[in-house]
């Protein structure tokens, strides 16, 4: 009886499924807190909301939004005009809204705080050199700068800053933003880019240099969303827009500090804020560390096994063909070798326009990386069979296919398996980069941990399990070797 009731409810729920909303956020605590707020607010309307956090940067998120992989994400007006509306010269909030509307996107009003770029130095160093403004840096060409990779490359970042202030410094490098702080403290760097809502300004006692030539544009935090969301889920849009003019700079710095310094979960911080400011009592979406570990393990194994299986299906025949027609084969192997030289992160980002974000591009990239070791070893294994054995099989009158199946592949099995093992172990390592594009896995923990300075956490819950998984994969292949490699060959090897 009870079950029939449940069934009816499920059926009713199945008839009118609540809209599924996907909120994105960048790989920085502030963005994740805002994303979590939007997710909680969307949840509060009864929609099923999912938060795809820690995606790697503006391009990744914007492409995902355009493609429909996500419905909304927090962004900054300065970033929109410089990175998304490149070259249009659009700067004011109203003009940006209009320009985005033409691209089928909606934008909220500013949320209330300005998270602009700033340049910061250690206070003692700044005092010693008498530097208080960015233009003061002109007089100190020996200073070493380290900027976040994004700041280093974007049009409104270092290249423009150098020009506006005529800065002479030569020793300028791009690096992970969080490592830049460590560099400042240790003295290997003298200045870096900061966010004005960055709690580390206080923590590390940094001097924020005045932007005396007004170079940095305003970076008002806003939400960008697909215009069709207004029709699909008007309640969700209305709920997110409640954040307009609601978050002060002080409140944001405080929330950032709670996440970065006190290691509180974003969801808790976001829920506390919503309950205080909007009087909403929402259940933070918390997951136990073990539950999280289980999820990451499943995601990681999924990425590796799907990509590896696909690679085996393609690369083994590929290697067989290469062994049969060596000239064409060398060409094919060279092509696979070229793929191998593409940096993994570049390959992942390159996939996004075609496959969106999430597991698909990650699997595609891992698949491509697995091709070479498997195809190469299949080729080598088959080539290594003595001519006399090959000829004996032919002389028996076995057709080509049967020779391959009954004689050549079994003889090459251990070499082929070694190639698959190499690919699998490389895959377990490379799959951590999937965290960069929202594919989950252990990489998520690592990428979340770096901005928070939670190095112990990222090692214990991310890097260590990944290494353990790699070892388990190795063990698994030891067992597989016993099963796949014919006994007669193992005798020869012993």
């Amino acid at each position: 009886m009870r079950f029939r009731w449940l069934f009816v409810v499920l059926l009713a729920a199945g008839c009118t499924p609540p809209p599924e909303i996907r909120i994105g956020s960048k790989q920085q605590p502030e963005s994740e807190i805002l994303g979590e707020m939007a997710t909680l607010l969307a949840d509060s309307t009864g929609a099923r909301a999912e938060h795809r956090r820690s995606l790697g940067g503006t391009r990744v998120l914007w492409n995902a939004l355009v493609k429909g992989d996500i419905d909304a994400y927090p962004e900054y007006t300065g970033t929109i005009s410089a990175e998304i509306l490149v070259g249009s010269g659009v700067r004011t909030v109203e003009a940006i809204r209009t320009a985005l509307a033409e691209r089928g996107m909606g934008m909220s009003l500013p949320l209330g705080f300005n998270d602009t770029y700033a340049i910061g130095m250690r206070k003692d160093l700044a005092a010693r050199l008498g530097v208080t403004r960015i233009s003061d840096l002109q007089a100190h060409p020996e200073l070493k700068f380290g900027f976040s990779s994004e700041f280093m490359n974007r049009a409104d970042g270092w290249p423009g800053l150098r020009q506006r202030y005529q800065l002479p410094q030569q020793d300028v490098r791009g690096l992970n933003h969080d490592l830049a702080y460590a560099g400042l403290i240790s003295g290997t760097l003298d200045a870096t880019d900061l966010y004005s809502t960055d709690p580390k300004i206080c923590r590390y006692d940094l001097r924020v240099l005045a932007d005396d030539r007004g170079y940095f544009p305003a970076y008002q935090a806003v939400f960008v969303y697909r215009a069709d969301l207004r029709q699909r889920a008007p309640a969700v849009v209305a709920a997110i827009l409640r954040l307009e003019n609601c978050i002060s700079e002080a409140a944001m710095i405080d929330m950032n500090a709670r996440v970065e310094e006190d290691k509180q979960p974003e969801s808790q911080v976001a829920a506390d804020f919503l309950s205080r400011e909007l009087n909403l009592s929402l259940q933070p979406r918390l997951e136990s560390r073990l539950g999280e570990l289980g999820r990451h393990t499943r995601e990681h194994i999924y990425l590796v096994s799907v990509s590896l299986a696909a690679a085996i299906v393609l690369a083994v025949p590929f290697g067989i063909l290469a062994a049969r027609w060596p000239i064409a084969g060398q060409g094919m192997l060279a092509a696979a070798g070229i793929i191998q030289t593409i940096p993994s992160l570049a390959l992942l980002v390159f996939m996004i326009p075609f496959l969106g974000i999430g597991t698909k591009p990650a699997i595609a990239a891992l698949f491509l990386y697995s091709l070479l070791p498997i195809a190469q070893n299949t080729y080598t294994g088959l080539q290594g069979i003595p001519g006399q054995i090959r000829e004996s099989a032919a002389a028996l009158g076995l057709p080509v296919g049967a020779r391959l199946r009954l004689v050549e592949l079994p003889l090459a099995a251990s070499t082929i398996l070694a190639g698959i093992k190499t690919a699998a172990v490389i895959n377990v390592g490379t799959a951590t980069l999937g965290g960069f594009i929202g594919a989950g896995g252990y990489g998520q923990v690592i990428f979340d941990g770096i901005p928070r300075g939670d190095y112990v956490g990222l090692i214990v819950w991310g890097a260590f399990p990944a290494a353990l998984l790699a070892l388990m994969v190795l063990g698994l292949f030891e067992v597989a070797e016993r099963l796949v490699v014919p006994k007669g060959l193992r005798l020869t090897m012993e």
Partner: protein
């Protein structure tokens, strides 16, 4: 049984076999002999279609060997090479049965044939379950012979089957091979560079030099009516110290 007409073969600029005609008589043992590089192995490999002639035709039991029919014709030829060419990942038994199983023989037929061959080749019973690396050189050759005979072929082709064996094993196996050839009465073509072996097996001996047939006939023909001074030189070179010693005594 096998007929080569106007056959020649070269590898790059190296002429392995000049235009050659040769008929292998049925039911007899023909031995191809000559110094290394004389083209005797090339001739054998042309017969089983492992290589294709540049010119000329190879006929097997009246049928011209072509790329299209060579695979089926091989089922009627057994082939044994110097160190057996056994598949290292299969036991002796699986090596022998590979082809019969592939052709879908019934297990009854397979077992009958295997038992017959085991008796014939005198392989120890436990040898069948061993892998090639666990067998001695002589045992490997017996297994290889059984594999070649499994489909009961019309012709048996052997490329220096005793070449890699030490002298005692070699002489044992030589005796056994001759007995097997006589029992089966098959057409046999055997390649060797050893004259005494050729004399021991050969009903017909074909002597080659530098890709050409110098003389064919019985051992007696070669001894008594050499077609060329090379024939005598080849024979004398192989008489060996013991034979010369014996000849020297009154």
């Amino acid at each position: 049984m096998i007929e080569l007409t106007g056959v020649s073969k070269s590898y790059g600029r190296q002429q392995a076999l000049h235009t050659t005609n040769l008929a292998i008589p049925p039911g007899q043992t023909t031995v191809l002999i000559g110094p290394s590089g004389c083209g005797k192995s090339t001739l054998l490999r042309l017969m089983i279609g492992l290589i294709r002639p540049d010119r000329g035709t190879v006929r097997f039991a009246g049928t011209e060997v072509t790329a299209a029919n060579v695979q089926r014709l091989r089922w009627r030829m057994g082939y044994v090479v110097q160190d057996g060419g056994l598949f290292p990942h299969l036991t002796a038994r699986d090596n022998i049965l590979l082809m019969a199983r592939f052709l879908g023989w019934s297990s009854e037929r397979i077992e009958t044939q295997l038992a017959e061959l085991a008796t014939l080749s005198q392989l120890p019973a436990d040898g069948l379950l061993r892998f090639p690396t666990q067998l001695s050189g002589g045992q490997r050759q017996r297994v290889s012979l059984m594999r070649a005979l499994m489909l009961d072929p019309d012709v048996l082709l052997l490329d220096e089957p005793l070449g890699a064996l030490d002298p005692i094993i070699r002489s044992e196996l030589q005796t056994d091979l001759k007995r097997i050839f006589q029992t089966l009465g098959k057409t046999v073509v055997l390649v060797t560079h050893d004259l005494s072996e050729a004399g021991f097996f050969g009903d017909l001996i074909v002597l080659l030099r530098a890709g050409k047939i110098v003389q064919q006939g019985t051992l007696a023909d070669l001894l008594q009516a050499p077609a060329d001074p090379f024939v005598t030189r080849f024979i004398n070179a192989q008489r060996g110290p013991l034979v010369s010693l014996g000849d020297g005594r009154p």
